[in-house]
Structure formats: structure tokens, C-alpha cells
């Protein structure tokens, strides 16, 4: 009798194993994450897979923004001049290209190596100054201006952004509040 039950064991196992089997969806290790960290009075942490942002972006419709493209001519600016300026900076040698000091507001745009640096400081001469620092990889900028002459191709820029990780791309410091945006392969923020 016991031997019969033992013989039936594998049958029971065969019935049980499929019940316990779980299917784990695949997620490519090389997928990048977009991180936003805001510190100050409020603390905000945002972590999104770039693939999610890329998939959702073409669906976002807003004024001057559709299909992952920003239409500059809908923003009261000369679109061709802006795109031409960005293209020329992308092709230029290292150096400081724009320096504006006006009524306490400083703006500096420079290129060093693979990056464009934008430094904007409002009320630079006062204690309550607000600083915005942006660091654009050149391939991202090139991708950004890869569309028509009157638009910025945010989708292409996002794809190019996937190649950069770990470094702060945008930092903003304003009245005790700091904002950091960066891309890496981790799904969490370490701080």
C-alpha cells in the first residue's frame, strides 16, 4: 500500500508544479531610469523608467507640444534662429559662448568637451539669488535639433539621453530648494 502511494508521488508532483509556476516578465538590465529629486521645504523623489517616459511622451498633447516635439514658433520666438544657434554651438569648439550680465542677472553658456553648460543666476548680487545650472551632453543637443527647423525633437533627445548616466543633467538651487535631474541604471535613488 505504502509503495503504491510512493509510486503516485511523482504524479502528484506533476500536478502540483504547474500550479506553483510563476512567469516573471523580462526587463532589460540596460534600461535607464530618469530620476528627479527635490529637496527643501518639501521632499520629492521621482523614479521612472526611460522606456515609460518614451512611450508616454508621443501621447502628450499640450500647447506647442505634440508627438514628442516642441514647436518653437508657437512660443513667440524665432524658431529657425534658435535651432541654428543650438546647431552651431553643437558643432563649435570648446569655450564660453554667451555671457550676459544684466541688472543682477547673469547668464553664461559654454561648451567643454562633450557637454554644453548653461548657468543662469537671478539676483546674482543678492543673498536670495536663484541659480539654474544645466548640463547638456552634445549628442543630446544634436538629437534635440535633429527635427524640422522650427521644432525641438524631445523624443530623439530622450533616446540620446539614455546613453548618459550618473551625472546631474539639471540642477536648480532656489531659496533653499534644490532640484536635481539625472539618468542612471538604478531604479532607486541612493540618498
Amino acid at each position: 500500500m505504502i509503495r503504491s502511494i510512493l509510486r503516485a508521488g511523482p504524479l502528484a508532483a506533476l500536478l502540483t508544479i504547474p500550479l506553483l509556476s510563476l512567469v516573471t516578465p523580462a526587463f532589460a538590465d540596460e534600461d535607464r531610469w530618469l530620476h528627479v529629486a527635490v529637496d527643501g521645504e518639501d521632499r520629492v523623489r521621482l523614479n521612472l523608467p526611460l522606456s515609460v517616459v518614451s512611450a508616454a511622451m508621443p501621447l502628450i498633447e499640450a500647447e506647442g507640444f505634440s508627438d514628442g516635439h516642441i514647436r518653437i514658433n508657437e512660443m513667440d520666438m524665432d524658431p529657425e534662429a534658435i535651432v541654428a544657434l543650438l546647431r552651431s554651438i553643437a558643432d563649435a569648439d570648446d569655450g564660453e559662448y554667451v555671457t550676459v550680465e544684466s541688472e543682477g542677472d547673469d547668464v553664461k553658456i559654454s561648451k567643454k568637451g562633450e557637454y554644453i553648460f548653461v548657468h543662469v543666476e537671478e539676483n546674482a548680487r543678492y543673498a536670495d539669488s536663484e541659480t539654474v545650472q544645466m548640463k547638456f551632453p552634445i549628442p543630446v543637443l544634436t538629437a534635440l535639433v535633429s527635427g524640422d527647423d522650427d521644432e525641438l525633437n524631445l523624443m530623439a533627445a530622450l533616446d540620446a539621453l539614455a546613453d548618459y548616466e550618473g551625472e546631474d543633467l539639471v540642477t536648480v538651487n532656489d531659496d533653499g530648494t534644490s532640484v536635481r535631474i539625472w539618468v542612471d541604471q538604478k531604479s532607486t535613488q541612493n540618498n
Binding site: 500500500m1 503504491s4 502511494i5 503516485a8 502528484a12 500536478l15 502540483t16 500550479l19 506553483l20 510563476l22 516578465p25 523580462a26 526587463f27 534600461d31 531610469w33 521645504e41 518639501d42 521632499r43 520629492v44 523623489r45 521621482l46 523614479n47 521612472l48 523608467p49 522606456s51 515609460v52 512611450a55 508616454a56 501621447l59 502628450i60 498633447e61 531604479s187 532607486t188
Partner: protein
């Protein structure tokens, strides 16, 4: 094996197996589908506390039945479409794309906001979206399996 042993074997092993297999299948389905949890705890002591746990498989069946249920000659989904309007339909499409892409992502904290004594925490954990909201007056905990969200968005 003697005939008597075969009968005994059938009674002791076969019958319970026949009875337990459907239960095991249902249990396995519920286990794999997960559960929808919604818990609201009032901290002031004046309000009421709510705790709801629904098997996700049951919710999925209910969601699939939704288009076939009619109220005043109009299906529930048609009524929802009418209420949502064009902007709602656009938001729905965005939500569908977002959840479809998020489905394959690993577990992660998506959003964390700490503002004063209010804390909002949204994460993807074990195939479900987990929302925790903690304020001085109440605590809310919601667990919604991703596949239920996808089904709901697909049905609507």
C-alpha cells in the same frame, strides 16, 4: 497490487485528490492574481476605519462583465465614456500606455513626496501598484495588481 488495495488506494488518495484539485486550482489562481486591498484608518477617532480585501481574479471577472451591464438602456462603459469626454479619453490612452510599459519594469519606488507631516508613497511591488498616504488625520493604504489596472483601462 491486490483488488482490495486498489479500492483502498482509490478511496484514500483518489477521492481527496479529485476534491482538492479544483480547490487548488482556484486557490492558485487567487494566489497568482493577488488581491486588491484598500485600507483607510482614521487617526482622529471621529471617523470610521475601512478595510476591504477583494481577490483580483474576482475583480477581473466583474470588470469583464461591465460592458454587458445596462442601466437605463445604456451600458456602464458607454456611460463612463460619456462622462469622461475627449480629455478623459486622452488621459485614458496615456494611462494605458503608462501601465503597459510599467508592467515589465522591476519593483521600484515611483513617487515619494514628503510635505510637512504628509507623506505620499507610490511604488511598484510584486506586480502591484502600492499607494500609501499618511497624513495627521488619516492613513490610506491601497494595493492594486497591475493586471487589474490594465484590465480596467482596457474595458473602459
Amino acid at each position: 497490487m491486490k483488488r482490495q488495495d486498489r479500492v483502498l488506494f482509490g478511496l484514500l488518495f483518489g477521492l481527496p485528490l479529485l476534491l482538492l484539485t479544483p480547490l487548488a486550482l482556484v486557490g492558485s489562481n487567487v494566489f497568482q492574481s493577488g488581491v486588491i486591498q484598500c485600507q483607510v484608518v482614521d487617526k482622529t477617532g471621529d471617523g470610521c476605519n475601512v478595510g476591504v480585501v477583494i481577490p483580483a481574479s474576482l475583480a477581473t471577472v466583474a470588470l469583464h462583465a461591465m460592458p454587458h451591464i445596462e442601466i437605463d438602456g445604456m451600458s456602464i462603459t458607454d456611460e463612463i465614456h460619456g462622462e469622461m469626454g475627449e480629455h478623459g479619453a486622452y488621459a485614458l490612452e496615456l494611462a494605458r500606455t503608462f501601465t503597459d510599459e510599467l508592467q515589465s519594469a522591476p519593483d521600484c519606488v515611483l513617487v515619494e513626496v514628503i510635505s510637512g507631516r504628509d507623506v505620499v508613497h507610490i511604488e511598484k511591488r510584486d506586480g502591484a501598484i502600492v499607494v500609501n498616504v499618511d497624513t495627521p488625520s488619516e492613513r490610506v493604504h491601497v494595493v492594486m495588481p497591475m493586471h487589474v489596472v490594465q484590465t480596467a483601462l482596457a474595458v473602459i
